[in-house]
């Protein structure tokens, strides 16, 4: 079965977010809610939700036009719309009776063989299907999305005894390929995987912080980065989720968890927190949470709650000896002889033991548990991977010393790790105590797996080259923040040398990495230091080397396919502009943001944007419109908030591909690279018909207007003036004499070198590096 159309019932935050994400996947979706009691429009509730979606930040839609795929309606007049859909997601209030009633109403109208799923996070499937028709039970399952549905990658899927396996597989497949989710099969147990462990972890971490007398900052500093958990830690996370939500989740878990579940003894209400909730300090959405920004008196002071007094006080970034001393060594952190080390020990022991005790109760394999925590709570490593980091033996000892029963799985491991690499393949320990290979779904190719199985073909300090099979070579950035430097350029050079004419062992090049961000651009810190000591020739060489390399890649006799995800800014965006094809993850954020640091794109970015604008059918003909288009995009340093938006901004071409699931990105890119390699010829060289000074004067007039309105700062005028000069072909250009690509690049370089020597630009770079924010000078 295929899912051509879908419906979501319930237009709250979750329901509307799920509907938006169906639209992001190109699936038309009906969004129904109860009829409005007042007003003329009985569908006002769902329609209002749709309007809210368009204003929400971060945006639930990858592109505003996706809103057209959502048809809002109400549950009385529009129930018939369900007859057309293949999958109905129920996301209404967590009340079994209300849900049962709804199911009874939709069952008769829905299409034969269509799937119904509930987004419940607390009600067991068995309860939900009670009293429903046999056919309903066969078509029913739970699909548990995380908030916000577009961005959170985890999707927990639960089938009942009677659920058709075929339907379950079809939905899982749609979620994986079209919605881009990491699908984890769970058993029908309370809280499924992620929340079951996550809520226990939060409770334990709060209890221990209170008992050991840690401040919230200290607790988060221990439980965050050192454990591979987002730096929000645990208190910061509760601020995000909402303090008031926690008692609700606790209540529902306590109602359904097994009698002897460890959560029951961990659960505790803390008076300070209870009072905070009562007074409206419910987190970021409320008056403040464990942290807040106090803007009193026009200031901006970060404050944190004192867990003893419940009063806010100035928040200081803690410098913990334990964290500094331990570095990456988690065991050293847990062994550190102070209260923060004790805290790490207690949180790790309880949380990981709890997780380990839940297999096979909540999932058949440890892999599902690890996946759930990584995708649902953004842990860098899952519980079993964390136990491996500590050592299963050491962990068993830790449990004993903390007075916790050693989980049977840990006993059974008997010192063996939960994961091992055998013949280059990742294997995990099964509940039977033997190793089994971790199998990736078809069409999933992970660099992480390749890296486990092989050594790099070549590497230096900032990049590695990997053999990803079938004659395709992959460049992976490995520098800090994937910043681009001379070593990255050297890696491209090496790759070109290896691939040669593309007719030997190697056929194509893919540029990809699995970091959060593809690349945030050139290494500015290095550049600033070089600037400060006035080593201009070295700066110019950095610019030239980038131009040379990117051009060589563009005209190489083999295809180059880039597969970005996350931020691709500045020089990281320019490499995409030079690739034959970009296979972008849907969550790719491209932008030429050089103007923000007082520069212009000079690794061919201006030139390529001009070429794209000229080639785009939506841009009117003639020399000026493409120039104006590129000028607007670059001068405003626009960053696309999705791959779809990048197409609008022409950072991506209409022909470039978008992959919804990150795990499928590399395979898609590789397939495209091989397809192109079959009959490849490099692109023809372009020339540009540009107006020269007259065109530049027009743009400058425009700039002056902006400056007068206060929309452009004095240095904006300087920087964008240079940009105007480049995009219009320089002082000697006129429409009768085409400008070559080489000339364009030389203009970019010249403008860049002039800017880099201005105080305004140096100030911008320095400000960006020291504060992380652009300077408006």
């Amino acid at each position: 079965m295929t899912i051509k159309r879908a419906a979501v019932i319930g237009s709250g935050v979750m329901g509307s977010g799920i509907a938006a994400h169906f639209a992001n996947a190109g699936i038309p979706v009906v969004l129904l809610d109860i009829p409005a009691k007042e007003g003329d429009d009985r569908s006002a509730i769902a329609k209002g939700a749709l309007q809210k979606l368009l204003k929400a930040d971060p945006a639930p839609f990858m592109h505003p036009k996706n809103a057209k795929l959502v048809t809002p309606g109400n549950l009385e007049d529009d129930l018939h719309l369900l007859a057309d859909v293949d999958w109905i997601v129920e996301a209404i209030v967590e009340n079994p009776a209300v849900k049962a009633d709804l199911y009874k109403r939709i069952d008769p109208v829905r299409k034969d063989g269509s799937v119904v799923s509930s987004n419940t996070s607390t009600i067991p499937l068995g309860v939900l299907v009670e009293g429903q028709s046999e056919s309903f039970q066969r078509d029913f399952m739970i699909t548990h999305f995380f908030n916000p549905p577009r961005y959170m990658r985890l999707l927990e899927i639960v089938g009942g005894e009677k659920t058709r396996g075929h339907a379950l597989a079809a939905v899982a497949d749609v979620c994986d390929r079209q919605l881009g989710k990491g699908v984890v099969r769970c058993k029908d147990t309370p809280g499924f995987i992620a929340n079951r462990i996550g809520v226990y972890w939060i409770q334990t971490a709060i209890n221990a912080a209170v008992d050991l007398g840690l401040t919230v900052e200290e607790a988060d500093a221990v439980v965050g980065r050192p454990m591979g958990i987002p730096k929000t830690g645990v208190f910061g996370l509760v601020d995000l989720v909402g303090l008031d939500l926690m008692p609700h989740i606790a209540k529902s878990l306590l109602a359904t968890l097994p009698e002897n579940d460890a959560y029951r003894s961990a659960f505790r209400e803390h008076p300070v927190i209870t009072r905070m909730i009562a007074e409206g300090y419910t987190g970021r959405k409320g008056k403040g949470g464990f942290y807040r920004l106090n803007r009193a008196g026009g200031g901006k002071v970060k404050e944190a709650i004192d867990l003893v007094t419940g009063e806010y006080r100035r928040s200081d970034k803690p410098k913990l000896e334990s964290v500094t001393a331990a570095g990456r060594d988690l065991r050293a952190l847990a062994e550190f002889p102070d209260k923060t080390g004790q805290y790490a020990r207690r949180v790790l022991a309880h949380t990981l033991a709890y997780a380990a005790s839940l297999v096979p109760e909540i999932a058949d394999s440890i892999v599902a548990v690890d996946e759930g925590m990584k995708l649902g709570y953004a842990w860098k490593q899952g519980p079993f991977e964390l136990i491996d980091r500590l050592g299963t033996d050491w962990f068993a000892e830790l449990c004993r010393s903390e007075g916790i029963p050693v989980p049977p799985l840990v006993e059974q491991a008997a010192g063996r790790p939960f994961y091992r690499v055998e013949d280059g393949k990742l294997q995990h320990l099964t509940t039977a105590g033997v190793y089994d290979t971790v199998v990736r779904p078809d069409g999933v190719l992970l660099l992480a797996d390749i890296k486990r199985a092989s050594k790099p073909v070549w590497k230096n300090g900032s990049a590695s080259l990997w053999d990803i099979g079938d004659g395709v070579l992959c460049v992976e950035f490995t520098s800090k923040m994937n910043a681009l430097d001379g070593d990255v350029m050297a890696a491209y050079g090496k790759a070109m040398g290896l691939i040669g004419d593309g007719k030997g062992d190697w056929k194509a090049l893919v540029i990809h990495n699995e970091a959060d961000n593809f690349s945030v651009g050139a290494n500015l810190g290095l550049a600033l230091f070089v600037l400060n000591i006035g080593l201009w020739p070295q700066i110019e060489e950095m610019v030239e080397a980038g131009q040379r390399t990117y051009r060589a890649l563009k005209y190489a006799p083999f295809p180059v396919v880039a597969a970005p995800s996350g931020l691709a800014l500045g020089g990281g965006c320019e490499i995409l502009l030079h690739s034959d094809h970009v296979q972008a993850h849907a969550e790719t954020y491209m932008g030429l943001v050089e103007v923000g640091v007082g520069l212009i794109p000079a690794w061919g970015g201006c030139t390529e944007m001009l070429a794209r604008a000229a080639a785009n059918p939506k841009v009117p003909k003639g020399p000026m419109p493409p120039i104006a288009t590129a000028f607007e995009t670059i001068s405003l340093a626009k960053v696309a908030k999705s791959a779809a938006e990048a197409k609008d901004l022409m950072y991506l071409r209409p022909s470039d591909g978008i992959t919804m699931n990150r795990d499928r990105l590399l395979a898609d890119a590789k397939a495209k690279a091989l397809e192109l390699a079959a009959n490849y010829s490099p692109p023809e060289k372009t020339t540009y018909t540009l107006p020269g000074p007259t065109g530049a004067a027009a743009l400058e007039l425009f700039l002056e207007g902006f400056a007068l309105q206060g929309k452009a700062t004095p240095h904006d005028v300087v920087v964008c003036g240079k940009l105007a000069g480049v995009l219009t072909g320089g002082p000697k250009a006129d429409v009768t004499q085409p400008v070559t690509e080489e000339q364009m690049l030389s203009l970019e370089r010249k403008a860049f070198m002039e800017l880099v020597r201005t105080a305004g630009t140096i100030d911008r770079i320095e400000h960006m590096l020291t504060t992380g924010k652009p300077l408006r000078n």
């Binding site: 810190g525 600033l528 230091f529 400060n532 000591i533 006035g534 080593l535 070295q538």
Partner: protein
């Protein structure tokens, strides 16, 4: 008998051409500091140094300070000389008129300090420390403290000291043990022992104000737990006269290699009454702010000794008749040629001269930027000047004191056997110069400050304040043909400095020991380039004046020739330094500790 004449003409040249004529008077509050007024002041100061202080230098060295029953006596004549000094108002030259000062720029005082240090370094220690105490108190002291004490420091009737070092800690002040216990009246009781306290006790003034670093009871460990206190020798009465003796006394004085007329004391504080200066636990910050001025002042000591050493070497080289020139007799009328005809004697003299004049120019520039950092109307200009001063401070301190010591040694060498004799007077300069390389942060510490703190700060922002103007000056004259012999060597040395900077910064990020191993060589390389820059600017100015027939042609021609010597004979040392820097830490570190 040694000789000394204050180098007034060169100072005027440097003020007009390196700082810029009239630049000081453009700063708010310094409108009166016109070139002519400054010249007059310095002329008067020169007289004082030549006629009053200089004659006491050798006798002071012979006699030294004496310690008896807790009382320290300065050598004969010092008290009278000090009286002359303060009566003429020299102590308050650069102090706030609100407290009786003359309100002249600090740079003017810096130039005067050079003369004082040439004439009598030991004497200079006393007013120098008082001025340091004045700076600390006027910057950080509360209004009541300032009202009570600043006037006396300005008129010189009371003196000041800085009490930092303790028996177990010098460089590492985080280990300080001296205690300060708060009293109900807001004062503190200070208890502890301080050593190496210059001017800690003497007979020049009726009272002495000690600025003491100590720990409050609740102080965190390390340098973040140190506070600054003012502790007078005698507690003042309400009417400002000297009252009862405070619980501070000199335990003994040191017997030293040099600056013998400057008393170096062990100071014992026993429940001495003191008052907090600035905020609790922020004493080191106050110290750091003053350190730029203090380190610049020590650099100027080096400069002063270099100048007087050079003058004596020249005088001797011209008058000592011995042998004949390698080219044959140059003065056939005399029994022998003066030794100045010899290339090697010339090498010595030119080296001392080129370093001294270059250092004077750089010292003036840094001193001027210190005034700009304090006084300029524009905040950004102030900040940039402050960054320049921060960067250049360790270089001025270490390079100038090395130059001072080297020049003193040169003077001894030129004097031959007579140089080794006390009566000749130049060996004193070697002994006096030695301490300048050690106190106020050893020169090794200065080098570490440069590579470890100043270089990486804000990704090299401080460096910009030096590298950009130098790059601009080189670029501006790169094509000027008749400057080629000056610009090209500087350009080459500057490129080496740029490369070394980039390499050290990069290596230092991964391995601080690499930066540490390069530090002293790097500071020297930096300093040589900085002096080269000064010489380029001086030679341009001299050429300009010669072309317009303005000023003393002989003086200006000599500038050009000295510049040529510097570029050809001294600046190339940068090549060797570059090579040793690139050799890295390994040759220093590989020998096992046990093998030493």
């Amino acid at each position: 008998m040694p000789i000394y004449k204050a180098p007034l003409e060169d100072v005027r040249f440097v003020l007009d051409e390196i700082v810029g004529a009239g630049k000081l008077a453009e700063l708010p509050g310094y409108q009166d500091a016109t070139p002519d007024l400054i010249a007059q002041v310095l002329e008067e100061g020169a007289k004082l140094c030549e006629e009053v202080l200089f004659p006491l230098n050798q006798s002071g060295d012979a006699e030294g300070c004496t310690f008896e029953n807790g009382v320290v006596r300065t050598p004969k004549g010092f008290k009278e000389a000090y009286g002359t000094y303060i009566e003429a108002g020299w102590q308050g030259l650069s102090c706030d008129p609100a407290y009786g000062g003359q309100g002249l720029p600090k740079l003017v005082n810096t130039m005067l300090e050079e003369f004082i240090c040439s004439a009598n370094l030991s004497f200079g220690m006393y007013p120098g420390l008082s001025l340091g105490a004045y700076n600390a108190l006027s910057t950080y002291g509360s209004d009541p403290l300032k009202q009570r004490f600043l006037g006396r420091l300005v008129d010189g009737t009371w003196a000041g000291t800085m009490c930092l070092t303790e028996p177990h800690c010098g460089t590492d002040l985080g280990m300080i043990r001296t205690k300060a216990v708060p009293q109900e009246d807001g004062s503190h009781k200070i208890t502890g022992t301080k050593i190496f306290i210059s001017a800690g006790e003497h007979d020049l003034t009726e009272n002495i104000l000690h600025l003491v670093l100590a720990r409050l009871p609740d102080a965190p460990a390390g340098t973040r737990g140190i506070s600054l206190f003012l502790v007078p020798k005698f507690l003042p009465n309400e009417d400002g006269t000297v009252g009862p003796r405070n619980g501070v006394a000199c335990g003994s004085i040191e017997h030293k290699m040099g600056i013998k007329a400057s008393s170096t004391c062990v100071m014992n504080f026993e429940e001495a009454t003191g008052w907090l200066v600035g905020e609790p636990h922020k004493g080191m910050r106050a110290m750091f702010v003053m350190m730029n001025a203090a380190r610049l002042a020590v650099g100027i000591q080096g400069l002063g000794l270099a100048e007087v050493s050079y003058q004596n070497a020249v005088a001797y080289a011209k008058e000592r008749l011995q042998g004949r020139s390698l080219k044959g007799a140059q003065h056939p009328d005399k029994p022998a040629d003066p030794i100045i005809v010899h290339p090697d004697v010339r090498r010595n003299l030119m080296t001392a001269r080129a370093f001294t004049e270059g250092a004077r120019a750089l010292g003036a520039l840094v001193g001027y930027q210190l005034d700009v950092a304090e006084r300029h109307a524009d905040e950004r200009t102030r900040k940039e000047a402050d960054e320049f001063v921060q960067l250049m401070t360790p270089i001025v301190k270490a390079l100038f004191t090395d130059i001072g010591f080297d020049a003193a040694n040169i003077a001894v060498q030129v004097h031959g056997g007579h140089g080794f004799i006390w009566e000749t007077g130049v060996e004193q300069y070697v002994r006096d110069a030695r301490i300048c390389q050690i106190y106020e942060g050893t020169n090794g510490i200065q080098a570490l400050d440069l590579v470890g703190r100043k270089m990486p700060q804000d990704m090299g922002r401080l460096l910009r304040r030096f590298f950009h103007p130098v790059a601009a000056d080189i670029e501006a004259d790169m094509e000027t043909e008749d400057l080629a012999e000056f610009v090209l060597p500087l350009a080459k040395a500057f490129a080496k400095l740029q490369q070394a900077t980039a390499v050290i910064a990069q290596k230092g990020l991964k391995d601080p020991e690499e930066a540490g191993a390069a530090a002293s060589d790097y500071l020297r390389l930096f300093g040589l380039v900085a002096l080269g820059w000064m010489w380029l600017r001086m030679v341009k100015a001299a050429r300009m004046r010669l072309a317009t027939e303005e000023g003393n042609a002989a003086f200006l021609e000599a500038k050009v020739k000295t510049a040529r010597f510097y570029m050809a004979k001294l600046l190339p040392q940068t090549n060797a330094l570059f090579i040793t820097i690139m050799a890295g830490a390994k040759p220093l570190m590989e020998l096992e500790e046990s093998a030493f």
